[in-house]
């Protein structure tokens, strides 16, 4: 009875999984086809001769390696900053005693609700005035600013559920407040930190409106922007456009595959406590 039920779920899931993955398979399939093949009648089309040069175009003219490097750099620094700032902020809000903390906490959390697009243009003018556009920091700082409110919110929830005894006994041992936060609390928050890291990564890895508004130097551009740019350059060549989309998707999928377990554990442990 139970076994049969499980088989039913299995089959149902297989169908849904196929539905989830099919668009991606379609994307890969047609990245090997020429533009003319797009208008054929078949849903998937085995290319008569795989158009490898689509990938050559994507790799060379899409400047894949350079943009990948930029995306990695921007993401890693953003994640590091977000983790440190969210950690210290949430600790100050939840554990420390000061007058304006609930006011500041509320204001910060408004950042989750405020749409970044509403502030895009003034943002550009301000960052420009500070000489921060057209540099890695021009992206890292706004990305961090957008990620910190959500990060602080997640960490705060988790922090509330951690008993204070550990910190108190650490204080008895003469630990400084900084050691407590970074050496005692941080490891305890690991599951929640993983969630923060993942959401931050996905946000800044995929963001493109700010990337295209704030950057003009080609040497600084990130992967999503290259997809946009490439679509202009190869507007008549769908195959090459698809190839660059496949290429940009691969790193994120690999990173996900590697951290898959931690992500689930992190979310499972962290989310419910929110």
């Amino acid at each position: 009875m139970i076994a049969r039920k499980k088989t039913a779920i299995w089959i149902f899931f297989l169908i849904v999984a196929a539905g989830q993955l099919f668009p991606l398979i379609w994307l890969v399939d047609f990245s090997f086809n020429s533009s003319a093949d797009f208008y054929s009648n078949s849903i998937l089309k085995w290319p008569s001769s795989p158009q490898w040069h689509n990938y050559v175009n994507a790799w060379v003219d899409g400047k894949f390696l350079k943009y990948l490097g930029n995306s990695l750099l921007v993401s890693v620094v953003t994640i590091a900053l977000t983790v440190v700032l969210s950690l210290t902020l949430s600790y100050a809000f939840i554990r420390m005693q000061w007058k304006l903390r609930s006011l500041f906490y509320t204001i910060l959390l408004l950042g989750i609700m405020i749409p970044i697009h509403a502030t895009l243009l003034p943002n550009f003018a301000i960052f420009k005035a500070l000489g921060l556009t057209d540099s890695y920091f021009g992206l890292i700082l706004p990305y961090t600013a957008v990620s910190v409110p959500l990060g602080t919110f997640m960490l705060s929830g988790f922090l509330r559920s951690i008993p204070k005894e550990l910190e108190e006994s650490a204080l008895m041992d003469g630990c400084s407040i900084y050691r407590i936060v970074f050496q005692i609390i941080a490891p305890l928050l690991k599951p929640a930190l993983v969630t923060v890291i993942v959401t931050t990564f996905l946000n800044c890895w995929n963001e493109f409106i700010m990337a295209s508004t704030f950057l003009s130097k080609d040497a600084l551009k990130t992967l999503p922007f290259s997809v946009m740019n490439f679509a202009g350059q190869y507007s008549s060549d769908y195959g090459s456009q698809f190839a660059v989309m496949v290429l940009t998707s691969i790193p994120a999928i690999i990173i996900y595959a590697v951290f898959n377990e931690q992500i689930t554990k992190g979310v499972t442990a962290g989310a419910v406590k929110g």
Partner: protein, 444 residues
């Protein structure tokens, strides 16, 4: 060193917060992060920043533009030209962002009319002396400065003679026994004939919306025979309700909509997508401008398509006063110099070089990329399409000089385009369209 100064700047954030009002002013004296700007000494390398809407540097106008740039750099080894390109729509947005922050570009592509007007009002582009561009070296055709002149001052130079035509696929017409349309009635017949065969009759870039505006202007011209009628309406000298040509043109758009003349995906098709439909032989016609002359010589396109590419004038209305030779022509695209340039003298030198008749105009024509706004010599090796396009321009009985959608403010352009977009994606009546157009004019 550089990093330190950035940190120092970051530390004055608090000040910035206190002085919100002065933010806009701060924009002008920013220290840009471009490293090589020691323009003082004559021998050192100068880097010019060039911003263009032609990302494809391997064919058509992008190739022509790049060729001129390469020529210049070869002749002037102390100059380096950084080219930044974006596709049309992102280009326009980015240019606004640059304008709002006074980015020190040197030369930028501009769209005449409404868009350039905004740049002029922001003081972002430099005034030019029209006298300097008279004579043999530049050879501009008469009247081409219209969309680049504001308050009798010139702010940019046109790169092309732009006029609306219909590109068509000769093979699709021949194979299906459809007559190439010369009247609007025949155009609808052709639309029905191709629809019956399961072929998209005409491809258009409906997502970008502006082609709808050009088509409406074209229709008003065909019904009224008066190039200035629609421009007068925008100038509030007449009303859309006062001349029946406006209504007839709107009614024809309604027939186009009901006959499904455009491809199925027309409302989501951007420029590239609409062009692909046509170049892959999936649409019989493409409503576009003379700047696409380069298709005939673009080797990235299928051979079979290029051999079958033809171009015709926009059909006449059977009951209209306009003739086939009344041409919807204007000068839209061009180049301007940026006032916040770090190297105004070097920039000017390159700008003059670019606009010389034997550079951009000649290169664009010889490579078959576009029809210039300057006099050019026929080489004898022109493509069939180029020859026809030349004939259309040379034989034009009248030209409009301005594109209606660009004739008012940017807000007007946005409003009128959206009114047309709404019309094509709903069942709105032609009368409602007219009143929407009138509202757009009134709210300028």
């Amino acid at each position: 060193m550089k990093r330190y100064s950035k940190l120092a700047r970051a530390s004055i954030l608090t000040l910035a917060i206190a002085s919100v009002g002065s933010l806009a002013a701060c924009g002008s004296d920013n220290g840009s992060s471009t490293s090589d700007n020691n323009s003082g000494s004559g021998d050192s390398k100068v880097t010019l920043r060039f911003f263009s809407n032609l990302p494809d540097r391997k064919s058509g106008q992008g190739l022509a533009e790049q060729t001129v740039i390469d020529n210049y750099v070869k002749a002037n080894p102390n100059v380096k030209i950084d080219v930044e390109t974006l596709a049309e729509e992102p280009f326009k947005n980015k240019l606004k962002a640059y304008m709002s922050s006074n980015e020190p570009l040197d030369i930028t592509m501009v769209h005449g009319g409404a868009e350039l007007n905004t740049l002029v009002q922001a003081g972002y582009v430099t005034e030019l002396d029209p006298k300097q561009y008279e004579g043999e070296q530049y050879n501009f055709l008469p009247g081409v400065y219209k969309s680049f002149t504001f308050n009798d001052k010139l702010y940019g130079l046109p790169r092309n003679s732009d006029y609306e035509v219909i590109y068509y696929n000769k093979k699709l017409f021949a194979d299906n026994g459809v007559k190439v349309p010369t009247t609007l009635g025949e155009l609808l017949d052709a639309a029905k004939a191709f629809r019956d065969k399961g072929i998209a009759p005409m491809s258009i870039n409906g997502k970008d919306l502006w082609s709808f505006g050009e088509m409406y202007q074209n229709l008003v011209l065909r019904y009224s025979g008066n190039q200035n009628l629609i421009l007068d309406a925008i100038d509030k000298k007449t009303k859309f309700a006062d001349d029946e040509s406006f209504l007839k043109a709107a009614q024809f758009l309604g027939q186009v909509r009901d006959a499904k003349m455009f491809q199925d995906s027309f409302m989501t098709a951007d420029y590239g997508a609409s062009q692909n439909m046509f170049t892959q032989g999936k649409a019989a016609m493409w409503y576009m401008g003379s700047w696409e002359a380069g298709m005939a010589t673009n080797e990235a396109l299928p051979e079979e398509f290029r051999q079958n590419l033809g171009v015709v004038k926009f059909p006449v209305a059977e009951d209209g006063k306009g003739t086939l030779d009344d041409l919807l022509a204007w000068n839209g695209g061009g180049y301007a110099m940026v006032s916040s340039s770090k190297h105004p003298e070097e920039a000017k030198k390159f700008f003059d070089y670019l606009m010389s008749a034997n550079q951009w105009a000649k290169t664009a024509w010889d490579t078959g990329a576009a029809v210039p706004a300057q006099k050019y010599d026929l080489t004898g090796s022109e493509s069939e399409v180029q020859k026809t396009l030349t004939d259309i321009l040379v034989n034009a009985a009248s030209t409009s000089g301005a594109s209606a959608i660009d004739y008012g403010t940017p807000k007007f352009k946005d409003d009128i385009q959206n009114a047309l977009g709404k019309f094509f994606s709903s069942k709105q009546s032609p009368e409602d369209l007219l009143s929407a157009l009138q509202t757009a004019v009134d709210n300028q």
